[in-house]
């Protein structure tokens, strides 16, 4: 399919424009810290690394493919009912992801509970569909969705890393704090596991990011 697209577009598959789509979400256009999209599900699944990684992958797959599908259909969707069409496409993809998770990683799927279903209303999806896929060709849209999914995943994994390592002294379930540290009085910070610290961690990430890139600062 990509070959056919290449002929139509008459530009290389990884032109600088497309690469930029892939790169920008990591910093300058990060969906969470800059565009403020998709925070709803981002925070609740970051207590441990494993669910966070699974969630990040699921969201990346759903954003990439929903962008691709909607972008291919963009000229045939009447604009009055586009939201419902978008929701149906996204819901179908999420059902597929949910069934796959239930089949292969049941324990993680139990932990994610309703948050897999909530990918449907994840603002990243609607935001990217409305802002990008409705007006661009399928291949760039696919890359845009993929990049945004990964940018979202990056923040998720960073937050989960700090919450799991400081909160329970583990990473991906393996202990990283040696026993003698506990013997001399080190304690896991139980507060990190509780919901409020996810918000504060993201606040700090935003702080660090914006002090490094001053053009993102608000007046």
């Amino acid at each position: 399919m990509s070959e056919k697209l290449k002929k139509v577009e008459k530009e290389p598959m990884f032109s600088s424009k497309v690469l930029k789509l892939l790169k920008n979400p990591f910093n300058l256009e990060n969906p969470i810290t800059v565009q403020v999209l998709g925070i709803c599900s981002a925070l609740a699944v970051t207590v441990q690394m494993k669910p966070a990684i699974v969630m990040a992958l699921s969201v990346t797959i759903v954003t990439a493919f929903s962008n691709l599908i909607i972008s291919s259909l963009r000229n045939t969707i009447p604009s009055r009912i586009r939201i419902i069409v978008q929701l149906v496409v996204v819901a179908a993809l999420v059902i597929i992801v949910d069934q796959i998770l239930k089949a292969y990683v049941y324990d993680v799927s139990k932990k994610l509970s309703v948050f897999v279903g909530l990918i449907i209303t994840n603002c990243i999806l609607m935001g990217r569909l409305e802002a990008y896929a409705m007006g661009n060709k399928p291949w760039p849209s696919f890359v845009d969705g993929f990049g945004n999914g990964l940018g979202y995943g990056l923040i998720l994994v960073i937050v989960a890393f700090f919450r799991e390592s400081l909160g329970s002294g583990k990473i991906l379930g393996a202990k990283i704090i040696p026993q003698f540290m506990y013997d001399i009085g080190y304690m896991d910070n139980g507060l990190m596991i509780l919901p409020p610290m996810a918000l504060i961690t993201i606040g700090i990430i935003i702080w660090v990011q914006r002090s490094k890139t001053p053009e993102l600062q608000e007046k």
């Binding site: 929701l87 309703v114 918000l199 606040g203 935003i206 608000e218």
Partner: protein
């Protein structure tokens, strides 16, 4: 009755949609700049929740659950349509939001003017779908329970967004480090508010 009241208080303070589950954060952060608009959005969310949650519960109980179609014919006892629930729930929510918008516009133009811009936004507010899915997951048994839970969640959401908006109105006069201004400080305030709300944990009436 006592049980219902307990559920109501729980859903407002302890299982608060924002502070315990982070649902509806996107509009929570985007709209909470002034108290007036955020109260408007909060009321709209509560209203839509009160309508959609019971409808989704009825659909789930009588159409989708394993063996739910028995009332139609005993042959359907093994039929489990619950994998369709995401799609049905979101379609019902989108349709009801549209319907509510039209009804409100027709019968109460003043309410429509107050809520108008927010209603279409609500279809993709995670809190609405979240409540539908929580109701399904926690297996509430009567429609009264579902309605009370939905109302409580809506009021909890309203409370959260109104108080954040009030704080943000005040804080616009403070001297915050530049990189933290706007979004960053809102996250941290929400975190601190969530810690405060944790003190309600364990309350039983």
């Amino acid at each position: 009755m006592e049980n219902l009241f307990n559920l109501f208080v729980r859903s407002i303070f302890i299982d608060n949609m924002i502070f315990a589950y982070f649902l509806g954060m996107c509009s929570f952060l985007a709209v909470s700049k002034t108290v007036k608009t955020s109260v408007g959005l909060g009321i709209a969310v509560t209203f839509v929740l009160l309508v959609t949650a019971p409808v989704n519960w009825l659909i789930d109980t009588y159409l989708l659950k394993a063996g739910a179609l028995v009332w139609l014919s005993p042959d359907f006892a093994d039929l489990d349509l619950s994998y369709l629930s995401f799609m049905i729930f979101i379609a019902v929510i989108a349709a009801i939001v549209q319907l509510v918008e039209m009804v409100v516009e027709k019968f109460s133009p003043s309410l429509y003017n107050a809520l108008g811009i927010f209603l279409p936004l609500i279809a993709v507010n995670c809190a609405i779908l979240g409540v539908a899915l929580f109701v399904q997951e926690r297996e509430y048994h009567t429609i009264a329970e579902v309605t009370v839970y939905a109302g409580g969640s809506g009021i909890g959401w309203l409370l959260a967004i109104a108080s954040l908006a009030a704080i943000r109105e005040k804080i616009s006069y403070s001297n915050i480090p530049k990189p933290l201004r706007g979004l960053g400080i809102s996250f941290i305030i929400t975190g601190l508010m969530a810690i405060a709300f944790m003190s309600f944990m364990g309350i039983k009436i």
